[in-house]
């Protein structure tokens, strides 16, 4: 059974500025197709109607993709292995009949989107909020563009957004992307296009999308900025998630994003689709608040039966991911303990740079504490996941690596350092107390003298 979910929420940083949510997400499953879409309106002052642009792009993608699915000859996909196309211009590549169809669809999306936003601009004069908050130069640009012939107009800038979609039919699937955000697909517990991977990024990345820079539907060369991929129904993913950059910037590394999506799949497997969507609706604003502060969107298509039968496989990925991080911390602990030994030996050398060595030693100890704490947390998470795996699948996993000895050793090193520091402090305190006693003696004699003097004056 193919199912879907989608949620988008207002970013924490937009609350203060009074800006609307500029992300838009959509998903649906019907007789023709299953489709998930995430569009992210740009945040800059010039793009003051990007929320409208994102919603328009979403609606147009649904319309154009539906036509594509209805008209496309599914034989074009027959026998097609997984194929991915990065950013290439028409002249750089010999286009297959399927590539031509895709380019026609992308061209249609851009054209219809431009028509839609032009109509919106003409029907919706500047609002009071826009007059108050949008810098004059951008308001003027908007007003001037209304009078311009379409070929010289830059009206689309005010509505600029990114877009990303995943589409699945009985015979094939495809996905396309323009701009930032991430698409992640999850696979069955078998080889997928030659790789034994639990998840991957099926759509090639565009290196121009870096930090806060992104390509956009409002770029003059948008048609050549689409990346896409497709495959036939023998390789349909178990689940595909689309997330806006508000999700990327919260979780950072790709593995961490995939880990978040597996948490959603676990709720699907355990409590059902509505529960997962509700949980996402409740938690996404919190994710934005503690993470990127940006608008955040997630849309997904998945096969519920396949999710349930592969959930152990996905939890296995989580355990491997945590295990990899735990091993990194364990290695770091060993390295820091060696470093600590080397630095101690260095400091006993009479001509050592004591200041530098002592700074390095303090860093090593702080890092050792962090690594040990982190390893302890990760060990706890791995044990929890092992139990979760057991409860989902009924089968035990191999016992995870036991890191308790390494954690204990790290704590011993830290404790011995603390004991040494306390001893040093104590000896310093004794010395200070001796000095203080002497000072008090001097001070009380001075007081006595002062008192005598005061008495004398009083008399």
């Amino acid at each position: 059974m193919t199912a879907c979910l989608d949620v988008h929420c207002l970013g924490e940083s937009h609350k203060d500025s009074g800006k609307p949510c500029q992300d838009y997400s959509f998903s649906c499953v019907d007789d023709d197709m299953a489709i998930a879409i995430v569009c992210d309106g740009h945040g800059g002052e010039r793009y003051f109607r990007s929320d409208v642009g994102a919603q328009a792009a979403t609606e147009i993608i649904v319309e154009v993709v539906r036509l594509f699915v209805q008209q496309a000859d599914s034989k074009l996909f027959k026998g097609s292995p997984y194929t991915a196309e990065g950013v290439v211009t028409e002249s750089e590549k010999k286009l297959t009949p399927l590539d031509v169809k895709f380019r026609q669809m992308f061209s249609s999306i851009i054209t219809k989107w431009n028509e839609r936003i032009e109509l919106h601009a003409k029907e919706h004069p500047l609002t009071e909020w826009e007059i108050e908050h949008v810098p004059e130069k951008y308001r003027n640009e908007f007003l001037e563009n209304l009078e311009c012939p379409p070929e010289s107009s830059t009206l689309n800038k005010q509505y600029g957004c990114t877009l990303m979609a995943y589409v699945q039919t009985e015979d094939y699937w495809f996905a396309f992307h323009l701009g930032d955000g991430k698409c992640i697909s999850f696979h069955k517990d078998i080889n997928f296009h030659g790789l034994q991977q639990v998840w991957d990024e099926p759509i090639p990345w565009d290196e121009r999308c870096f930090l806060n820079k992104t390509t956009s539907i409002c770029d003059s060369d948008a048609i050549n900025e689409f990346r896409y991929c497709y495959g036939n129904n023998t390789e349909t993913p178990v689940a595909v998630f689309l997330g806006s950059d508000g999700i990327d910037d919260t979780y950072g590394e790709m593995e961490n994003i995939a880990n978040f999506y597996v948490e959603i799949l676990k709720i699907v497997a355990k409590d059902g689709i509505s529960a997962a969507e509700q949980q996402l609706r409740d938690d996404l604003p919190i994710v934005s608040r503690i993470g990127s502060k940006d608008d955040a969107s997630v849309a997904a298509i998945f096969n519920v039966f396949a999710v349930k039968s592969n959930i152990g496989h996905f939890i296995h990925f989580q355990m491997d991911y945590m295990g990899m991080q735990a091993q990194e911390q364990a290695n770091r602990i060993k390295m820091l303990q060696q470093k600590q030994q080397q630095l101690k030996e260095q400091m006993s050398n009479w001509n050592a740079d004591l200041n530098k060595a002592s700074i390095e030693l303090n860093y090593a100890m702080k890092d050792l504490r962090k690594a040990s704490d982190r390893l302890e947390i990760l060990s706890g998470k791995i044990s929890f996941l092992a139990k979760e795996h057991q409860s989902f699948t009924g089968s035990d996993m191999e016992s995870p690596i036991d890191y308790s000895e390494i954690i204990e050793q790290a704590k011993e090193t830290l404790n011995s350092k603390m004991i040494q520091e306390e001893a040093e402090q104590e000896s310093e305190t004794v010395n200070t107390e001796e000095v203080t006693d002497n000072q008090q003696m001097v001070s009380s004699s001075e007081d006595e003298l002062a008192g005598t003097e005061e008495t004398k004056i009083t008399c």
Partner: protein, 244 residues
């Protein structure tokens, strides 16, 4: 079942780089003021990092003279960073400093995933001209995506600083600040480091200007109050050098 696992949401990071010229011509008051100023501003950077909900700030420092040396082999949290006083001697390997900076501006160097990171802020301090192949170094550095996106400010210490090289580094002359005496050097290091950290570690405000432009605007507003400092783009305000 909740989706919130605070521990798996890393804090976003902004790295502040100091590239400090420790060549022989810096000997005396200049290197003393540089050591003094950077030591004193670290607690301020730490405060900005600790009170900032958007990102934590890490600090990395490279000194260059006849060669180059990173103070530490990884960026340190601002609150943990300790500036080690530098001594001045030798030549000015600014070209090599560019190469070394380029090497760490990668994910397998000092940077993390671009998702979850802010562009770095890079402050270059120099009182002379490169004695090695600067053009080779800067050309390589200019290809680096992190460098392209970075906030880049240069502090030209005295009249002998090669403003053309510093301009090539920052991308424009407005981002080169001249200082002509000890007090100005200390104040400008503070203003540049604090402003870059404040603006660099915040979510992009929805303004159209880049963070570098915002930093330059802010610095130029404060520069008028500093005797002996001026924007290199405005040499008419330059005062005489006085380093005794």
């Amino acid at each position: 079942m909740s989706l919130i696992d605070v521990e798996s949401v890393p804090r976003r990071t902004m790295t502040l780089f100091f590239l400090a010229d420790t060549s022989g011509s810096m000997e005396g008051n200049k290197i003393g003021a540089l050591n003094d100023a950077i030591s004193n501003i670290i607690p301020m950077i730490s405060e900005i990092s600790n009170t900032n909900p958007d990102a934590e700030i890490k600090v990395a420092a490279l000194e260059f003279s006849s060669g180059t040396t990173w103070l530490y082999d990884e960026p340190k949290n601002a609150e943990d960073f300790i500036w080690q006083d530098q001594k001045a001697s030798g030549l000015t390997s600014l070209g090599e400093a560019c190469i070394q900076l380029e090497k760490v501006l990668h994910r397998d160097g000092f940077m993390k995933s671009p998702s979850g990171s802010y562009a770095p802020a890079i402050i270059l301090l120099s009182d002379g001209g490169a004695t090695d192949d600067f053009d080779k170094g800067i050309e390589k550095l200019k290809q680096n995506n992190w460098f392209k996106a970075a906030i880049k400010i240069a502090i030209a210490i005295g009249d002998d600083a090669d403003k053309d090289e510093l301009k090539k580094f920052t991308g424009n002359l407005e981002a080169v600040i001249e200082v002509h005496n000890i007090e100005a050097l200390k104040q400008i290091i503070r203003i540049v480091a604090v402003t870059s950290s404040q603006i660099g570690s915040k979510s992009t405000s929805a303004t159209d200007s880049t963070k570098q432009e915002q930093v330059i605007d802010e610095i130029n507003q404060q520069i008028d109050n500093v005797d002996g400092a001026n924007s290199a783009a405005d040499p008419s305000n330059a005062s005489d050098d006085y380093w005794d």
